[in-house]
Symmetry: C2
């Protein structure tokens, strides 16, 4: 299969204006001030909305966007005509016309379990360059990391039963459907219903039948026969259009007819009702007909908590099709009422600037817990025990000696050049699976448990206190 034509998918060439307005006004003010000194910004997630870990995802799209970001003549003409950034200066127009990212990007590879406040992306470059793609970076990282994490939780809950992404119809538009398919595959689903995601990312496509196909024929039985005739090797019959139990009996009839033609009915799908009770009854109907090999798939408002409940109660379900709560990352625990906002609190913050060759670490202050930032350019080191299990992470300043541990922030782009091979989504899924198995069990629970130990190096801790003590540069002039 050919590599995906990503530029067609993402249309980066027309997306330079996917930017918040203030990125442009700040850039204009920086140009006016002749301020384009080198600075560093970090992407990190302030808190984990559910459970105790995140699976990093989205880097490939972000880096592809940054490296291909160009302002077209049409963009520039529109910016001038609309006076979007005040009267755009010639210097600013020339800056945008010649824009080509020339800085450095270090990042934690996709598929890696990560924790709150760890820098996941570290970008260094001229101050305008580093800022102008912030909105895109945040949107894509926040969304894909949310979905990869959510899916990883569902996979854990399913304890070996397969899960599929059925979410495109409830995803927030086209990109959300496509990126949710990608991120959920990294998180562990076996396939997606969304064909274009299958095409672009080489993910297996899956699907059954819609109610329409059945309503569109004189009877359910005729519809089942029609489908089985067309797809004798891959028929999964949707049995809840009229009455699930009668639907199961019709599926048995068709299954037995397929046997006489030396085919096997693959499965039936439940899409509504009490999935525990119905799966048990349908299993018994199938078994009585000698169709013990026919699998039961279930869909309909599923999430990790519902899957966990069904599996714990030994529902005879071999596969789950997960829609709304996978593709939106619904951060909501129906058991406790916790959560409720389907977004990750990921931010991209300035941590350091260079002023006449002097490196000046900076931080945002806040009285709100978790809203101040860690100053300075940083590296994250992960320590493992003798069995390869994660023991703890330490965040150190960039120029500190490593003192062991695996450095998570990896070189991706150096002086504007890609120096990293992006793994395929299959490789990323394998990586996420292996890495997650190294996270000690207490940190893998569905509910909020013990936080994984992440500490700051003494020097970073000292820098933070020092900046706090020295006061805030509110009026240092």
């Amino acid at each position: 299969m050919n590599p995906p034509p990503k530029s067609a998918l993402l249309s980066e060439s027309q997306m330079a204006l996917f930017a918040d307005y203030y990125e442009l006004t700040m850039a204009q003010a920086d140009i006016n001030d002749e301020n384009n000194a080198v600075c560093t910004a970090n992407y990190f997630v302030r808190s984990i909305p559910q459970g105790n870990y995140l699976i990093a995802a989205g880097l490939e799209q972000v880096v592809h966007y940054i490296l291909n970001l160009r302002f077209t003549d049409a963009d520039l003409k529109w910016l001038r005509d609309s006076q979007m950034a005040g009267d755009m200066s010639d210097d600013f127009a020339n800056y945008l016309r010649g824009f080509k990212f020339g800085g450095d990007i270090y990042a934690v590879p996709e598929g890696t379990p990560v924790f709150a406040n760890e820098p996941l992306i570290n970008i260094t470059g001229p101050t305008i360059d580093v800022q102008i793609f912030e909105t895109y970076l945040l949107s894509v990282m926040n969304f894909q990391t949310l979905i990869a994490t959510k899916t990883s939780r569902m996979i854990r809950a399913a304890r070996g039963a397969v899960c599929y992404d059925f979410g495109a119809r409830r995803a927030h538009g086209r990109d959300a459907g496509i990126l949710a398919a990608r991120a959920s595959f990294i998180g562990g689903v076996a396939g997606t219903s969304l064909v274009i995601a299958g095409r672009y990312f080489d993910i297996p496509c899956v699907g059954t039948i819609a109610h329409k196909f059945i309503q569109d024929r004189p009877s359910e039985l005729e519809a089942f026969r029609a489908y089985a005739k067309s797809f004798p090797n891959n028929t999964v019959l949707l049995i809840d259009t009229y009455d699930t139990i009668q639907g199961a009996k019709n599926a048995c009839l068709v299954g037995k007819e397929m046997e006489t033609r030396s085919y096997r009915l693959r499965g039936v799908r439940l899409d509504s009702g009490d999935l525990l009770r119905l799966s048990q009854e349908v299993r018994s109907i199938l078994d009585s007909a000698g169709l013990t090999y026919v699998q039961i798939f279930a869909s309909g408002d599923l999430d990790e908590f519902e899957i966990d409940r069904l599996i714990a109660q030994k529902a005879p379900i071999e596969g789950f099709g997960i829609g709304t709560r996978l593709a939106t990352g619904a951060n909501f625990n129906p058991l406790t009422g916790e959560g409720g906002v389907s977004a990750l609190p990921g931010v991209y913050k300035h941590v350091e600037r260079v002023d006449e060759h002097r490196v000046i670490p900076t931080m945002k202050f806040s009285d709100e817990l978790g809203k101040s930032t860690l100053p300075g350019r940083k590296q994250v080191y992960r320590f493992h025990d003798a069995h390869g299990r994660y023991e703890r992470d330490v965040i150190r300043l960039w120029d500190e000696p490593s003192q062991g541990g695996e450095a998570l922030l990896t070189p991706i782009v150096r002086q504007g050049k890609l120096v990293y091979r992006f793994p395929s989504v299959k490789e990323l899924q394998a990586k996420a699976t292996v890495e997650l198995s190294r996270l000690p069990v207490p940190h893998r629970k569905l509910t909020r448990g013990e936080a994984f130990p992440v500490t700051l190096s003494p020097r970073l801790e000292k820098l933070r206190s020092q900046l706090s003590r020295e006061g805030r540069p509110v009026s240092k002039n």
Copy 2:
């Protein structure tokens, strides 16, 4: 301003495979069966997640997609090579190669308040044509209707204070950011931070400063001065980077300096902390400095409930920048713990087929409340009282005489030809505002109140009972 180049924005020409896998397998089975009889399908929303109404949105993108849907040679080659739909038959390949929607679309215009179970889109055509774009239709209608509705609730809560869309960075990818800007403008925001949405939909762009701009300079005061120098007519200063109260005092200094140059500081923005207390303190600091004209804007984890609380307590806030909970449509009431899934339960269901010139209404049955569907092709009639206020809606079968009321489903496409002028988003915002003012107050509450009366015509009611009584066509063969 030129009309937006929507094809560039949406890239429909490459999006034919934005389809769930089963749309293709069912189409292949229909081709094998030589079943391409005329049928009708309806888009409707099963229940309203928050409050008592929905604002319809998304139609323009859906119709544009349907009318431009083409399968490229590359799409067809990939489908064949990957054996996605089994061995694709020549007939099916030819069908897809020649695909051009030739059916009829009726829809409720965007910006109209609508209610649960009312058909919002009615599509009639050959059965495969009607099905193949289902995934796109659902994704875009569900999302934009969710966001237009959510925003309309925020606008009501703000009681005249202006609201802006600041959500792109937490939106679920690129389309979500762009479509949220569009839908939230229909719902009533005064502008968006997302520049590309401003460009494509002619929405005013707004923005202030990021913390980065302030951290990137020796002091907050210097940063404020730099920004005010570049944008003397439109400066809104972000004052919470280090300390909000000191930030307000610095803003006063800069505001007084601007006065000496005959300019006026437009506003300050609070982005964290106790917004009620801080807005009061900052107002008092500004007023003491004689800067009574400087406005206070607030942002940070806002939704309609928080805005309602702030306005009810008379917080001196003139404008709200709303991010995460606008762009994700967070269906969650933090006061009651209700909700939690950021998606609309909108579905697209088969309601009628034509079998040898006989019109056969169909329905999906379900024992679950609200999961069975209304059979037959239908029209929605809205009745107003003498003052123009909405009184009630009646859903009738398509061929019933109207008996008064305004028919909501409007001709959009006839035999594949667009017969409708899509209003601009400004017209849609005006329409939504006027229409919503006609909905009686009890149905406009933020919390779940009395449902607006929507009844079925006696003939539709009779058809539904009759189909239920006659039993389900599970094995009519």
